[in-house]
């Protein structure tokens, strides 16, 4: 099977799976627009992060800064120009691209842990600035919000001023961007983002990035100037983060500084590692898993647990609910932490590695059953 046929096949299946999420996630109780939007948006964030971390091995600990810059840019575009989401997205991606070029240019002077620290420092700097000095732009602690009195120059120009009570809402040429339409909009963009990431991975440029991860010094003696390669990867992944930030603002038009905090940067690292660094689908699996846990597990409370364990004898219910209760509700981070540790220790390649091992096990069993050797599928390049 050639790579191109493979790509087409992957895209068809991927598109179907993503667009049908509202249906097949019903049994998991995850089929509501808010959560689905988060899957798609953080999916974009993680795909972009993986272009940097997965391909080149450079671990950025400050990607949330670009998420924040994307959100702020988008909200400002809503305030100043129009409630249509297209200009907001374009401006957000450009702005985060510019910031990524600046931060990347400085940070990429170092490798390894020093690079990570530099990116972390930049992100924390952005976070603190957003809270203090930049309050006129970011509206500090309150967060940047829409107001009825915003100029919205473009909207006013075309006479689209029919303002009802309350705040205007984001639209795609009249289509409201909340609920399921918001999800489908984000999902289509995510599918497109995934396609671009896949093309990059399968390109000579992507191969060069992987070679940098493998042996950067050798790349120099092979005649490559590795710095611009790294910077390009950094800017692309920063733009992905900006796009995700813009979509966060599209589905809920406000931007706060906490979006740039280091915990947000850490979360995307966690998602990528949990799913499988450097794989196409891994980061997305990580996103779905973490966002699912965050939303579902954290909503479990004492009463719900008592109901679930009501089949147990009465004496046992209280202690069991007490122990399990530690891992859900407010304590869902405990579950996440345990899961993360188990995966890193036993499956360093993430969930994707686990799936690969399962497939191999099943295949081996089938082979011994059939006593015939299946043809080896060989990866072409």
């Amino acid at each position: 099977m050639s790579l191109e046929q493979n790509e087409t096949k992957i895209m068809i299946i991927f598109t179907a799976v993503v667009l049908l999420m509202p249906i097949w996630l019903i049994p998991f109780g995850a089929s509501y627009p808010d959560l689905l939007q988060k899957f798609a948006i953080f999916g974009i964030f993680a795909i972009g992060f993986n272009i940097l971390f997965g391909l080149t091995g450079y671990l950025s600990f400050g990607h949330a800064a670009f998420l924040g810059i994307g959100s702020y840019s988008a909200v400002w575009t809503f305030k100043l120009l129009t409630m249509n989401v297209i200009p907001a997205i374009i401006i957000a991606v450009l702005m985060s691209g510019i910031f990524a070029a600046l931060i990347g240019f400085v940070s990429l002077r170092r490798t390894g842990i020093y690079f990570s620290i530099l990116t972390l420092a930049f992100a924390q700097m952005s976070y603190n600035l957003a809270y203090s000095v930049l309050t006129p732009i970011t509206n500090g602690e309150t967060g940047l919000q829409l107001a009825q009195a915003d100029p919205r120059i473009l909207d006013n120009m075309i006479g689209n001023t029919a303002l009802e009570e309350g705040l205007p809402s984001t639209t795609l040429f009249g289509l409201s961007m909340s609920g399921y339409s918001g999800f489908y909009f984000c999902a289509v963009i995510m599918i497109f983002a995934f396609y671009i990431a896949m093309r990059i991975t399968h390109s000579p440029f992507g191969l060069a990035l992987r070679a940098i991860k493998s042996n950067q010094v050798r790349m120099m003696y092979t005649g490559f100037n590795t710095r611009p390669y790294m910077l390009t990867a950094f800017v692309i992944s920063g733009m992905y983060a900006g796009l995700a930030g813009a979509l966060l603002a599209v589905t809920d038009p406000l931007a706060g500084a906490e979006r740039m905090q280091w915990t947000a940067s850490g979360e995307v690292v966690l998602m990528t590692i949990l799913g499988g660094v450097g794989t196409l689908f891994g980061p997305l699996l990580g996103v779905v898993l973490i966002k699912y846990f965050e939303n579902i597990f954290s909503s479990f409370n004492h009463d719900l647990l008592t109901e679930i364990f009501s089949f147990l004898p009465d004496v046992l219910i209280e202690p069991v609910v007490g122990v399990v209760g530690l891992f859900v509700g407010e304590g869902w981070h405990l579950t996440l932490g345990a899961l993360f540790m188990i995966i890193v220790i036993f499956l360093p390649g993430g969930i994707i590695e686990g799936i690969g091992r399962l497939q191999k096990m099943i295949k081996n069993r089938n082979e011994t059953h059939l006593k015939s050797k299946m043809p080896q599928t060989q990866e072409s390049i």
Partner: protein, 254 residues
């Protein structure tokens, strides 16, 4: 006499108090195989490191193909046409053998940077065929999709040679290409290197094994204590009293 492709003048390099290279004067003529021999610690590897830009000499110049190489970045020197095969194989362990060779081919075709993120590797048929044919020459065509990290040391060396050859270097630097090889592998390597010689690639080769040196070299230079003490045809070097002294005299030689 044909044109000097590499011309090194008065190169000095010190590490602290140690003078690793002392007024080194060296040249390589287009198409020749020039061997550098000398006792351990004579500065042979340091000299190659200066040639490829890994080290910057304290004084002196390296001219290559009419251009000044001193102070240039390693990738610029590679793009100019000087390619080195390392003593301990330097390859991309996580990539397949074919990918290793393809990467070198891209460097030759695309230069030091090119943003070709939307062309598929599959449309690179021409380079791929070139890579496959070079690997075939080295009897590695059966392992195209193996991971380079899983190769034996000898195979890694052959892979590195393939990576160098696809770049069609003007000057190939070989650092002890047969070190640690069995006699059979050594002879195979000699055969391979003489094949490359027929293609007219200029080579500088560092080697301890005199059998290899005298079967391949057109000229030999002898380095001792960072200084070139003699340069000449193999027969002249064999008879030179100075060389005998450097190897057998005061120096302790393993």
């Amino acid at each position: 006499m044909s044109k000097k492709i590499l011309d090194v003048q008065g190169v000095n390099k010190s590490f602290g108090g140690l003078k690793a290279l002392n007024e080194v004067v060296f040249d390589a003529v287009e198409g020749e195989t020039h061997a550098i021999i000398g006792p351990n610690g004579a500065g042979k590897s340091t000299f190659l490191n200066v040639c490829i830009g890994k080290l910057i000499p304290d004084t002196g110049t390296v001219m290559f193909d009419g251009q000044l190489m001193t102070g240039k970045q390693p990738h610029e020197i590679n793009q100019a046409g000087i390619v080195r095969v390392f003593q301990t194989p330097e390859i991309f362990q996580d990539l397949t053998i074919l990918q290793n060779v393809m990467i070198s081919a891209f460097s030759k075709r695309d230069g030091e940077y090119r943003f070709n993120a939307f062309t598929s590797m599959l449309s690179e048929n021409k380079l791929r065929q070139e890579a496959e044919s070079i690997l075939e020459d080295l009897n590695m065509e059966s392992m195209l999709h193996d991971h380079a990290g899983s190769l034996s040391r000898g195979d890694k060396r052959r892979l590195e040679l393939a990576m160098s050859l696809i770049q069609k270097p003007k000057l190939l630097l070989l650092d002890e290409p047969t070190a640690g090889m069995s006699r059979i592998d050594t002879n195979r390597t000699i055969e391979l290197l003489s094949k490359i010689k027929q293609k007219g690639i200029t080579k500088i080769i560092i080697e301890h094994d005199m059998h290899v040196v005298f079967s391949l070299a057109d000229r030999i230079s002898v380095l001792a204590q960072g200084h070139v003490i003699a340069t000449g045809l193999p027969d002249e070097i064999r008879k030179s009293p100075k060389v005998k002294e450097a190897y057998l005299g005061g120096e302790s030689h393993a």
